[in-house]
């Protein structure tokens, strides 16, 4: 991939990701409503929500939290741009974690016990899914001989076939990363759960709008990571990746509606078991082959 191509792809992500993310969030809410036998809000509802947040009066309990949430947004965008520019997968994952850390800090710096407990739980969940993400990067390297996303995307043959275990583990981590039930314990899109709104309890107005937009960016980047498993440098691989990414999101919505929230112990233990069995198992098979 040439430099110009990389820059164009990063710019496309910068402009189109919030639009696509917003539509995905709208589809999520509509679909969830349909699964519960309701009509549900219009697809554009997440956009209305964000515009409303921007119109509201700004109430901030601790000024630093706005800065941290802005950092979260910034680093999520940087991560996505680096991903679409075909840069180093490890660097992308570490930058994503850095963004995540800023969000946790934002939740910690407000005095509310709800957001404090939410931040604590987010740390546990991060501990559960980080090994899986790291193993995915290692497995990609073993299979394609490169950490560069550009090289991985244009390597021969779909990576998903030898990396099937890692792929399934990644789908498991995706539920945690998208904060869907049963692992939505740090913050939930559905109101009235044990922690009110968890990490976001103290966020309002523009801060909440920033957070929502970062979720749109992040979701698109994560789904692109799903698609990366299918990229083989041809249009077929690209198309299959796109379809599977959309299907993966629909699966997450289905799981979200079908499960009750689990405890952080379950999240942590199951995350590590999945990482060990499917992730490490797959890597060992790759090494032996």
């Amino acid at each position: 991939m040439s430099d110009i191509e990389a820059i164009i792809l990063a710019l496309v992500y910068l402009i189109l990701a919030p639009v696509a993310g917003c539509v995905l969030a709208g589809v999520d809410r509509k679909l969830s409503a349909r699964m519960q036998g309701r009509r549900g809000p219009p697809i554009r509802q997440p956009y209305y929500d964000v515009r409303k947040f921007m119109e509201k009066e700004q109430i901030t309990s601790n000024g630093v939290q706005d800065f941290y949430v802005a950092c979260y947004l910034l680093f999520v965008i940087v991560t996505g741009c680096m991903f679409f520019a075909g840069m180093d997968l490890l660097l992308v994952l570490f930058t994503l974690t850095l963004g995540e850390t800023f969000l946790i800090l934002a939740a910690y710096c407000s005095g509310s016990p709800f957001s404090q407990v939410g931040a604590q739980r987010e740390l546990y969940v991060a501990m559960a899914y980080e090994p899986i993400l790291l193993l995915a990067a290692i497995a990609f390297y073993l299979q394609t001989g490169s950490f560069a996303i550009g090289d991985i995307a244009s390597s021969d043959g779909m990576a998903v076939i030898p990396l099937i275990g890692v792929f399934v583990a990644f789908l498991y981590a995706l539920t945690m990363k998208l904060r869907k039930s049963p692992f939505d314990l740090s913050m939930s899109h559905h109101a009235h759960q044990d922690l009110v709104r968890g990490m976001t309890t103290e966020f309002s107005g523009r801060t909440l709008a920033m957070l929502e937009v970062s979720h749109w960016y992040e979701n698109i980047m994560l789904l692109a990571l799903v698609a990366l498993f299918f990229m083989d440098g041809t249009w077929v691989g690209f198309a299959v990746g796109l379809v599977v990414a959309v299907l993966a999101y629909l699966l997450e919505v289905y799981i979200d509606n079908g499960f009750a929230r689990m405890k952080w112990q379950t999240a942590l233990k199951s995350g590590w078991v999945v990482a060990l069995v499917l992730g490490v198992g797959n890597v060992i098979v790759l090494l032996l082959m």
């Binding site: 409503a33 549900g40 809000p41 209305y48 515009r51 119109e55 709104r197 309890t201 309002s204 107005g205």
Partner: protein, 144 residues
């Protein structure tokens, strides 16, 4: 049209209701009435709420709580008193511990009478509240 009108988030507080009105408020979220089709979300967080739904009369103990919830909500905000107790105190009006309707503590924008208020009238009240919300939004923008 202001966006507040398209995505009003509710905060529901039970002042000293008998739970009759509370159940009717929750009934609005069920598939039969489904207020989410108007973008309404029943949130538990005052900092993210636009409309404060209060059921039941206010008493000496929860007076401060009601005030605090109201103050924590960012502008523009609307208060809807649901049920006759929240409107005026209802049959509890003369009790020694009851201060009266919600308007004895915080300004109320919409009154929804009934014992218990029917889901239809609660939705009507909220929709009426949306008009007030838009008006307040405009006023806020004009002041800016």
């Amino acid at each position: 049209m202001s966006y507040a009108k398209r995505s009003p988030w509710l905060l529901h507080y039970d002042a000293s209701s008998c739970n009759g009105c509370d159940i009717e408020v929750l009934a609005c979220l069920t598939p039969v009435y489904d207020v989410e089709r108007f973008g309404i979300i029943n949130t538990g967080d005052p900092k993210q709420a636009d409309i404060l739904l209060i059921t039941g009369a206010v008493n000496d103990q929860n007076k401060e709580v009601v005030k605090q919830l109201y103050e924590q909500m960012p502008e523009p905000k609307v208060v809807v008193a649901v049920g006759i107790c929240a409107c005026s105190g209802g049959i509890f009006r003369d009790c020694y511990n009851i201060l009266g309707g919600v308007d004895t503590v915080i300004p109320v924008d919409v009154y929804v009478p009934g014992c218990a208020a029917r889901p239809e009238s609660i939705i009507d009240g909220v929709v009426k509240g949306l008009g007030v919300l838009e008006e307040k939004q405009r006023k806020m923008e004009a002041e800016r």
